[in-house]
């Protein structure tokens, strides 16, 4: 079960931390990149709301200050995603995942809508609680095997990673915005600003896809 | 941008991406290029080709019809 996402195409070494690009992680990395580019180049849409009980509608505009802040957070989210996609280190992965959680809160936090802010707050609490299993998983991995490198752990003859570490890793990622914890997140998508809001759902999907690979690899 | 330049630009996109895709596939069949390079080219070229071609043959050069203004 070594080449889950295909044979790695190339390795990028930072000291003992190795980022690797297999077809799977490369595809996910490129997707995060493409959507980050969308965030940079596209202006937010003007959401149309229908006024109930009347034959009228109005368009919501996003102020420049709000746009700048949210664009920044969305780009940061894209960068954190790209990091989580290619890193070959379990602890780095958990750090990037929790960074994605913060950025997701940040993307919608600037919206002046009570429902959105409340949803973002509740989501933030879940994401913050999600860092507990994440960091615990990484700590258990390094204590039981003596290594955090996915490549070393995946190589034949490496000590087995306990099931609880994998389970905690998946649980932590689910806390960052997958079913069944996405309930608070769905409400966040009310917010206008499509390119930024899409980054929220894209990032949690990407980290979930990556964690599947990581868990199968370990 | 005038409709005519838009039209020719769409055609240019379609032709360039079609040529890129055909070249990549031909080179792969000839064995000069690995298959995943062909796939990488097509992933970019095929959507560009589809939209370029459609935008090309959708675009009108002349005056548009008088729009329907309601009953």
């Amino acid at each position: 079960m070594n080449e889950i996402g295909g044979i790695p195409l190339f390795y990028l070494e930072f000291g003992d931390i190795v980022a690797y690009f297999s077809p799977f992680t490369l595809a996910l990395f490129l997707l995060a990149l493409v959507f980050s580019v969308f965030v940079i180049v596209s202006r937010p849409e003007r959401q149309i709301d229908i006024a109930f009980g009347a034959d009228a509608f109005f368009a919501k505009d996003i102020s420049l200050a709000e746009l700048r802040f949210r664009r920044f957070m969305a780009i940061a989210c894209g960068l954190a995603c790209m990091g989580a996609m290619v890193t070959g280190d379990v602890f780095d992965f958990t750090l990037f995942v929790s960074l994605v959680g913060i950025c997701n809160v940040g993307i919608v936090a600037a919206v002046k809508n009570h429902h959105v802010q409340d949803a973002a707050y509740q989501y933030g609490l879940v994401a913050l609680a999600g860092t507990v299993p994440l960091f615990s998983a990484a700590a258990i991995v390094v204590t039981t095997t003596g290594s955090l490198s996915m490549l070393e752990l995946a190589s034949p003859g490496a000590p087995a990673v306990p099931l609880i570490a994998r389970a905690l890793l998946v649980l932590g990622v689910m806390g960052e915005g997958m079913a069944p914890f996405y309930a608070a997140k769905a409400e966040m998508f009310r917010a206008p600003g499509a390119p930024y809001v899409i980054m929220c759902s894209l990032s949690s999907l990407l980290i979930f896809l990556r964690v599947t690979e990581v868990v199968l690899l370990l | 941008m005038t409709p005519a330049t838009q039209k020719s630009r769409a055609l240019a996109i379609a032709v360039v991406s079609a040529l890129a895709g055909i070249t990549a596939t031909a080179l792969t069949l000839a064995g000069a290029l690995p298959p995943h390079a062909d796939a990488a080219v097509l992933v970019i070229a095929f959507p560009a080709f589809v939209l370029g071609l459609y935008l090309y043959w959708m675009a009108r050069e002349g005056e548009a019809d008088i729009p329907f203004v309601g009953y």
Binding site: S42, I198 | L51, M58
Partner: protein, 280 residues
């Protein structure tokens, strides 16, 4: 690969047309001709096209390119026998595409379609169940390895029938007019596709054709194994007709019920795969 790409698009659209025809016949309507979806795609491509004033222009156009691009990539992976995980990643990312289609225009109908696609996130969990089920037996997720395994041990559909069922449900939740297609239900006009007209809609149709072709091919390759090309096409036809029966006989669920049913299925599937893990 160009030939496969074009064939996949048109054949996928033909299958969608057959899907509509079968549904119509079950419901005792004459129904459109089977090549209707191909005509649809061509018809939309000739229509006047622009970008709505409220839309986020780059995303509005870009998401069409992404939609076609990711399924082209998925086709390439299936053809070259690459990692099954990539195909499933593309399947999940299609949700982002739907979300992007819906949100980028600013229309409330599109927005609700997009939000519905996000809340039906539980529909993906059966996917991971089938992945886990396959991985337990074949010890690999590379499609060519899975095909090779089946040549020795017989079709996986007989070995892990419930994983096959999970994948079948996944196919079902992406078929139009099905019980779970709340993202394009009629009270939202056309759901997430409402505001993409003309050429953009034609691009979406190309994506739909390709998507149908890729998903059905994946199902047949992974659960039945390798077969002659003609048999593959017949197998896809049989699958589509069976899906059409389900779609024609089940009413579309309300969003709440759809999510509930999908969550229940996901829970059952998770229980199944944990039993598999314990047994093996």
């Amino acid at each position: 690969m160009i030939a496969e790409l074009l064939f996949g698009t048109f054949f996928g659209l033909l299958l969608l047309g057959i899907h509509r025809k079968v549904i119509a016949r079950i419901q005792r309507r004459p129904g459109p001709p089977v090549w209707q979806e191909i005509l649809h795609m061509l018809k939309f491509s000739f229509k006047t096209t622009w970008v709505p004033a409220t839309a986020s222009a780059a995303l509005f156009v870009g998401v069409v390119l992404v939609a076609i691009g990711i399924w082209t990539a998925a086709l390439a992976v299936v053809l070259s026998g690459g990692s099954l995980l990539i195909v499933f990643a593309v399947y999940m990312l299609h949700k982002i595409v739907e979300h992007g289609f819906g949100l980028s225009s600013g229309s409330p109908y599109g927005k609700f379609g997009g939000v519905r696609s996000v809340i039906s996130a539980a529909s993906e969990i059966p996917l991971f169940v089938s992945v886990a089920g396959i991985a337990l037996f074949t010890r690999s997720l590379i499609i060519s390895d899975i095909v090779a395994y089946q040549e020795v041990h017989g079709p996986l559909l007989l070995t892990v029938p419930l994983a096959g069922l999970a994948m079948y449900l996944v196919l079902l939740s992406k078929m139009p007019f099905g019980p779970f297609s709340i993202v394009e239900s009629k009270e939202l006009v056309s759901g997430y596709k409402t505001e993409h007209f003309g050429v953009w809609r034609a691009g979406l149709e190309v994506c739909n054709g390709l998507k149908t072709y890729v998903l059905l091919t994946t199902f047949l390759l992974v659960f039945v194994g390798t077969m002659p090309f003609l048999f593959l096409l017949v197998g896809m036809l049989v699958l589509v007709v069976s899906l059409s029966f389900v779609c024609a006989l089940c009413p579309m669920l309300s969003p709440y019920d759809s999510v509930t049913v999908q969550t229940i299925i996901a829970g059952l599937m998770l229980a199944y795969v944990s039993i598999l893990v314990v047994v093996s």
